[in-house]
């Protein structure tokens, strides 16, 4: 009987974690969808969002669950500037150059943070951390994760709305469909792409802010999430943001169930098993975008 409730609990935990994963992946999917750029600095942006929130918490005591929009704003500016200043000049070059540039950027950001803050780990302690919501005697939900799930869900819906119902969203989708015809329709391609990069980076920054209370902070924290993002973006269908969101939830649940039934170490391996399976069997992912 215990295994039944344990499974329900694992699925719940997986959904909660998966929402955060999904938010990170949506950011990466947006950037890839509009610009065909694989952003290897995505994890570093998440880390910057975490540090910004941490510093704010240490100086003013504002909880990350209130200050996350600031992390989003900071990363939007950084993302916009990165696109305009670093990526736009090398548009038209081989994709490999773009990858190298974002990888280099990630290294610089990570090492820079390590120089300024040191390689030490930091954690914050907020009262919400010890609050658990209990359903019956067998199921419990840790409050901070529920709050971050709610915030991530609202942001995901908002992002989907922006992409499907606003002029900006239509411009972004137009560029995604045909980069050369878009400017002929009067779209300012550079500006839309820069804004998209900014929004995608902001998603990573906000995810970092939401992650801060339940995890700990160190310069290389972004790496594990960056790797997972690749898996999710591929699983969801390259460039599909709703696919990435669903893939996030799926990954969270699969990891959690694997950890329950086979042990914690298998949970990491399963990410990459999924990655390889999707790439070899259905490269276009769950939402099967035609740009596989």
């Amino acid at each position: 009987m215990n295994w039944f409730y344990s499974t329900i609990q694992a699925i719940l935990n997986g959904l909660l974690t998966g929402a955060l994963y999904g938010l990170i992946a949506m950011g990466m999917a947006l950037i890839f969808g509009v610009m065909r750029i694989v952003n290897f600095a995505h994890g570093a942006f998440l880390m910057l969002g975490m540090y910004a929130t941490y510093v704010l918490f240490q100086t003013t005591g504002i909880s990350p669950y209130y200050s996350f929009p600031l992390a989003g704003a900071v990363l939007f500016v950084i993302g916009y500037a990165t696109y305009m200043g670093l990526l736009r000049p090398i548009r038209g070059q081989v994709d490999f150059m773009v990858i190298l540039l974002t990888m280099g950027l990630a290294l610089i950001i990570t090492d820079g943070v390590q120089l300024i803050f040191g390689a030490d780990y930091h954690q914050i302690n907020i009262p919400l951390l010890s609050k658990n919501i209990r359903i019956g005697s067998q199921i419990s939900i840790n409050a901070p994760w529920l709050v971050s799930f709610a915030i991530a869900a609202v942001l995901a819906v908002a992002l989907y709305f922006v992409v499907t119902h606003t002029m900006f969203g239509r411009a972004a989708r137009a560029i995604a469909q045909n980069r050369y015809a878009a400017p002929l329709m009067g779209i300012n391609v550079n500006r839309v792409q820069a804004i998209s990069f900014g929004i995608g980076s902001a998603a990573a920054g906000i995810a970092g802010a939401l992650l801060l209370p339940v995890f700990y902070l160190f310069p290389e924290v972004g790496n594990q999430f960056k790797l997972k993002s690749f898996v999710m973006v591929v699983l969801g269908g390259m460039g599909s943001i709703q696919g990435a969101a669903i893939a996030g939830l799926v990954l969270g649940v699969v990891e959690s169930l694997t950890s329950l039934y086979w042990g914690n170490e298998w949970a990491l391996a399963v990410d990459f098993v999924i990655f390889i399976l999707v790439l070899s069997l259905k490269p276009s992912g769950i939402f099967g975008s035609q740009r596989a």
């Binding site: 694992a10 390689a119 419990s140």
Partner: protein
């Protein structure tokens, strides 16, 4: 004429290199130290550094060694084994140290054992507990602290005399430290007739161990034995409360569960650390001569009381100094030979004498966190107080 212009920078370069090589000799004795001043295990590296500093000040206050001032040459391995290996190369080949203390973790220490063996430099290990660091047969390795086997033996000894539970689950991190302790406890538990109902190995630094803890809970062990570093120890205990894992005993292989920060709320598990048992190599209340003084000096230096990692570093330097003094030389071979024979009856860390493997037979205590403080509960002749058994269930705690 052009040839002379080339000659000048060459000679200058040679002079610089020569000065660099020989600058270390002369009026100080340099002892190399590898530890984790930054990275995952920075808290322990800092404890090391504080312990080394106290010992260094004492040695220099007494006039140093062989009439010279003693200096410590630190190398920060950033909690990474490959950096520790680089560190040994730098300390030996560039800085010409003749003896090395360190590293902190079992993973880094295991990595540097072949290097010091190859370079023929004696290594004094302060804190790495994995037994494979003293089982390579290298004649250059000396370990001050007790190892994983002793941890398992002491824990089982305590359990047998305090309720004699029959079922055990092991949860260990997956680097050398965790694996060594898992192996030692598995073998020792089998020999003692306990039933190992579950053994989990985890990737450190994850945000979510709830499924792992649920697996342990489903097997219903009376005892859970953790082998974790500080960050994971905190996460595990917090999430153990969320999952409502209620074994009769939370035990551990020290380290994260014995760190000075572990019972604190902002750098550790806070109230979730309460009632956990841990093995310990030393506490400020230990009855060895100099223990209380070390505690005082450490408190004056840092504002907090030391855990055993700090005094292990202190002891390592004290032993190195005794070796240099006894050998009347800082030469590596002479130091090694002296260390083999050394027999210090009294240090604040207890007596130090190395066996044929280079292992010091250091006694292991068992402590319990009571009201946020570590209290010795075993063995009886060292116990300060009685253990609180069984561990109160999470829902019944305030």
């Amino acid at each position: 004429m052009k040839r002379f212009y080339l000659l000048f920078p060459c000679v200058l370069a040679m002079l610089i290199v020569w000065a660099g090589c020989h600058g270390g000799e002369g009026n100080t004795i340099k002892i190399g130290v590898v530890t984790s001043l930054t990275g995952k295990q920075a808290a322990f590296g800092q404890a090391h550094k504080n312990g080394y500093t106290i010992a260094l000040d004492e040695i220099n206050a007494k006039g140093g060694l062989l009439g010279k001032k003693v200096e410590l040459d630190y190398y920060d391995d950033q909690s990474k084994p490959d950096q520790a290996v680089q560190g040994v190369s730098k300390l030996v080949d560039q800085d010409h140290v003749t003896i090395i203390l360190g590293a902190y973790s079992s993973e880094s220490t295991r990595a540097i054992v072949p290097v010091v063996t190859q370079k023929k430099i004696p290594l004094i290990i302060p804190t790495a507990v994995a037994d494979n660091v003293v089982e390579t047969g290298s004649p250059w390795v000396f370990r001050i602290c007790a190892g994983a086997e002793s941890f398992a033996a002491a824990t089982l000894d305590f359990l047998k005399n305090n309720g004699d539970p029959k079922t055990l689950a092991i949860v260990s991190e997956n680097t050398n430290f965790g694996q060594a302790n898992s192996k030692s406890m598995t073998e020792a538990a089998k020999a003692a007739g306990l039933d190992l109902v579950d053994s989990e190995s985890y990737q450190d630094s994850s945000p979510d161990y709830k499924s792992l803890l649920q697996r342990v809970k489903n097997k219903n062990p009376e005892v859970v034995y953790f082998a974790s570093y500080l960050l994971d120890a905190s996460t595990l205990m917090r999430q153990a409360e969320q999952v409502r894992l209620n074994p009769k005993y939370y035990t551990s292989a020290g380290t994260g569960f014995a760190a000075a920060e572990f019972p604190t709320p902002d750098k550790g598990a806070g109230k979730y650390a309460e009632y956990t048992f841990s093995v310990s190599q030393w506490l400020p209340s230990a009855k060895w001569k100099g223990s209380a003084e070390f505690d005082e000096k450490f408190f004056k230096l840092t504002g907090a009381h030391p855990a055993y990692h700090a005094i292990e570093a202190y002891a390592a330097l004290v032993v190195a100094a005794a070796a240099i003094d006894g050998a009347k030389s800082a030469q590596s071979q002479a130091l090694r030979d002296t260390l083999r024979q050394i027999n210090l009856a009294e240090t604040p860390f207890g007596p130090v004498k190395f066996d044929s493997r280079g292992q010091n037979l250091h006694p292991v205590l068992v402590t319990q966190v009571q009201e946020g403080k570590y209290k010795v509960v075993w063995p009886l002749d060292a116990a300060e107080t009685k253990p609180i058994i069984p561990t109160p269930e999470w829902s019944k705690r305030q």
